[in-house]
């Protein structure tokens, strides 16, 4: 991204859509806010019209513009079980893993809305990469023919595929050969980390969210084209970074939790606070979260999405049922609710950044021992978070403690994280590793390590 590039950040929330214009140096040029309806395209049209009206000369025709969208519509599709992609669920694990079949732990209604069939077939690896059970190609073929016609996507999850992804890749090939290249395949090694059930769940959620993300993408590109804006388009991810549209269509699951993440990142940018607590007061609800080095702190897994246990990182958010429109006792109702939030209970210390339409209530609601920061334009923090977000990629690998292997695994994780950031749209020349975590695993003869790496960079 050139320093002079214009950025548009759009945040479509539950009650309002916000949009901001920023220049390459992070200066706010214009802002807009409109109420949202059910039709996403209409909301985008309205908020873009207002934004362009506020800064009519900001975009020169054909000039470089980067547009980033954050929306809760994708998560909502799951909650409402509407417009989901029907998924054929394949697990490579027999003779193991039958103790809990695929989707067995899902809420029955969601499972019925998502599944085009489930099957465990022979395959999978061991922790050291051995594959004692070859992939049962015939069983995969039989399953694919059984679901052909109903399945709109395939989710494949193999035992230890994060270490040994070959069988999942072979299945993706089989799907192309047997059912054609139009059927998208979500492969678990690209989506989740260790823990077969939680990774499989994330992979199926990913596949079923393809249609909702396509709908959002169509609305956004349509709204931009209608106004003659030739933009690079990005979608927000759950850590507050962004990914290019094509990447989002392959990994829709990364959009879950992105709405909250954007507000958190925007609050950090506006306030200059890198470590602290963010309180986002909306119309009818308040979200509290924690900032660590400018990024949202992750919730301790397993996380739950629409009643499904997964292991993918989501921002840790406490949602309180009060907001600017509901807190009739001024800050009292909010004070009452904030009392129960872990990160605010008792201790002073961490600065509190208050954003959202009702941010002013926070000063009133919190006892005097908290430093409360009320940044200007905090009511459009989500849109600002979208406009300033970098691109990121993550990797998660396990290795034994032998130092050669640890070094090799670290290198591999670094490379994977960087590759993923680049695939998501980051500038290859400016990608950096921003976070490395090593966690020992217990109860083995040889201690092993889990290594997690995050890389970020500006957009190309």
């Amino acid at each position: 991204m050139s320093g002079a590039e214009l950025r548009v950040g759009i945040d479509v929330g539950a009650t309002n859509a916000h949009a901001v214009f920023m220049d390459g140096g992070g200066r706010l040029l214009a802002r807009a806010k409109v109420p949202v309806g059910r039709d996403l395209r209409a909301s985008l049209d309205a908020v873009l019209a207002e934004l362009l009206g506020a800064a009519p000369d900001a975009i020169s025709p054909g000039g470089p513009v980067r547009v980033t969208l954050g929306t809760r519509r994708v998560t909502d599709a799951l909650a409402q079980r509407r417009g989901l992609t029907r998924v054929a669920v394949l697990r490579l694990g027999s003779p193991l893993t039958g103790g809990v079949p695929p989707l067995w732990t899902w809420p029955a209604e969601l499972r019925a809305a998502v599944s085009a069939g489930e099957q465990i077939v022979g395959g999978g690896a061991e922790y050291d990469g051995r594959t004692p059970t070859p992939l049962d190609v015939d069983a995969v073929r039989r399953f694919l023919h059984r679901v052909a016609g109903t399945a709109e996507a395939v989710a494949v999850s193999g035992v230890f595929s994060p270490i040994s992804p070959e069988q999942e890749l072979a299945v993706a090939d089989l799907v192309r050969r047997e059912l054609g290249s139009g059927l998208p395949v979500s492969a678990s090694h690209e989506i989740g980390s260790f823990g077969l059930l939680t990774r499989e769940n994330a992979t199926v959620l990913n596949a079923t969210l393809i249609a909702p993300v396509q709908a959002v993408a169509t609305a956004l590109t349509g709204a931009l084209r209608a106004r003659d804006i030739a933009a690079e388009t990005y979608f927000a991810q759950n850590d507050g970074s962004v990914m290019a549209l094509e990447h989002a269509l392959r990994f829709p699951v990364l959009m879950i939790g992105s709405g909250a993440a954007l507000s958190i990142r925007g609050a950090a940018q506006l306030s200059g606070v890198a470590d602290g607590v963010v309180v986002d007061v909306g119309g009818t609800r308040t979200e509290v979260s924690v900032l660590v080095h400018g990024f949202p702190r992750e919730a301790a897994p397993p996380t739950e999405v629409a009643g499904v246990h997964t292991d993918f990182p989501l921002p840790e958010v406490w949602t309180l049922p009060v907001g600017a429109a509901t807190a009739d006792g001024g800050g009292d109702a909010l004070a009452w609710e904030l009392e129960d939030v872990d990160v605010l209970g008792g201790d002073a210390g961490a600065p509190v950044v208050a954003v959202g339409g009702g941010a002013a209530l926070v000063e009133e609601a919190l006892p005097g021992d908290h430093e409360v920061v009320l940044p200007a334009h905090g009511d459009v923090a989500g849109a600002i978070g979208a406009a300033i977000a970098p691109v990121s990629g993550r990797a998660d690998v396990v290795c034994d403690r032998d130092s050669d292997h640890l070094d090799a695994a670290l290198l591999r994780a670094h490379r994977t994280a960087v590759e993923r950031a680049i695939h998501a749209g980051a500038d290859p020349a400016r990608v950096e590793i921003v976070e490395v975590e090593q966690m020992p695993l217990s109860y083995l003869v040889e201690p092993a390590f889990r290594v997690r790496v995050r890389a970020t960079g500006p957009c190309v």
Binding site: T97, L196, A300, D342, V398, L444
Partner: protein, 346 residues
């Protein structure tokens, strides 16, 4: 007493509490147990006193890495393989199953297999909590020696171990579990009803159910706290961790230090013991009430630090030698759990 879809979540929560932060996470084992009773019906629990002297019992569970078990999920049929191996050695039919370790996921695995085999579960276990070593079986303290084990990996491999003593059994079984894929299903072979009565911990399943049904009424509440620091290091074959807890609410101003390996081992305040292994130290999430596994402990969590007395035999001189703080390399003597502080609620 019966274990079904209504009671299994309580049992799981109780097993996690008795796991003292270790023994493997319960979500997966709970899902497997629910699936088993859904497919095969509820599992009956019988008292240890109701087991005939010469009945063959099969204590069982998983040995190895819970992280690997979460990836390499058991098929549920391991119990059939273990039973066949144990019966072949003993020349008698297995009458009932029993957890060898009530703490953590191993408290639930025998439910999975009992459901599939249509056998009852005995209200007892081999440890009364979770321990990292198979040598830490309460049976050994009563001179009921467990040297013979049957192991299977779920791929058709069966390993029979005849060890000279419990320490060798731990070495050999642990080594085999690594070769078998990092985790395997395991059962001591040849335990009779009379031996179990002499050396097993009676009432473990009921205790777990009671703990899980009312976690807040469980044990002593030592401190309401926030985790302010967690440090982990690998030393030899073990992961050592230390955590600092700062008191919150009525415990504001207090500070505790927690030592952990695979389980929570020691809680200290100003150098004094609040609770020490083999007594059971557990952390419950302040809001959820859910037990916090040691592997998932992290900075910022708000928790309730609780402690439960270990079964009496573990607090004997022999028990403390096998499972007291010094058995874990901690330079502290065991002391009884501290009394609950007097708290003034806001």
């Amino acid at each position: 007493m019966r274990l079904d879809d209504d009671t299994l979540p309580d049992l799981a929560r109780g097993c996690a509490i008795l796991g003292a932060g270790g023994g493997g996470e319960i979500d997966l084992a709970l899902a497997m147990a629910r699936h088993a009773v859904d497919q095969h019906g509820p599992v009956d629990v019988i008292g240890l006193d109701d087991v005939p002297d010469d009945a063959l019992l099969m204590p069982c569970g998983l040995v190895g890495s819970p992280t690997i078990a979460a990836e390499r999920i058991p098929s549920g049929d391991e119990g059939l393989v273990l039973r066949a191996a144990v019966e072949a050695r003993a020349g008698a039919p297995v009458a009932a199953l029993m957890p060898y370790e009530i703490g953590g996921s191993n408290g639930l695995m025998p439910v999975v297999w009992a459901g599939r085999l249509g056998l009852p579960l005995v209200d007892a276990d081999g440890m009364g909590r979770a321990f990292p070593s198979l040598a830490q079986l309460a049976l050994e303290l009563s001179d009921v020696h467990v040297g013979s084990w049957a192991l299977t990996d779920g791929r058709g491999n069966v390993v029979a171990v005849d060890a000279a003593d419990a320490v060798w059994a731990e070495r050999l079984v642990r080594g085999a579990s690594t070769t078998l894929g990092g985790v395997c299903a395991a059962a001591p072979a040849g335990l009779t009803g009379a031996q179990a009565r002499a050396g097993a911990i009676a009432g473990s399943v009921s205790r777990a159910l009671a703990c899980g049904a009312a976690p807040d009424g469980t044990g002593r509440l030592l401190m309401e706290a926030r985790v302010t620091e967690v440090a982990r290091r690998v030393d030899g074959m073990r992961v050592h961790g230390s955590a600092t807890l700062h008191g919150t609410g009525p415990d504001a101003g207090r500070r505790a230090r927690l030592e952990l390996q695979s389980e929570y081992l020691l809680a200290l305040e100003d150098g004094d013991v609040l609770a020490a292994v083999p007594d059971i130290i557990a952390l419950l999430g302040a809001q959820s009430g859910a037990p916090v596994p040691a592997q998932r402990l992290h900075r910022g969590q708000r928790v309730r630090l609780i402690a439960l007395e270990a079964p009496e035999i573990w607090r004997s001189a022999r028990g403390l030698a096998a499972a007291g703080p010094r058995a874990y390399g901690l330079d502290v003597d065991h002391a009884p759990i501290a009394p609950e502080p007097v708290r003034v609620r806001r």
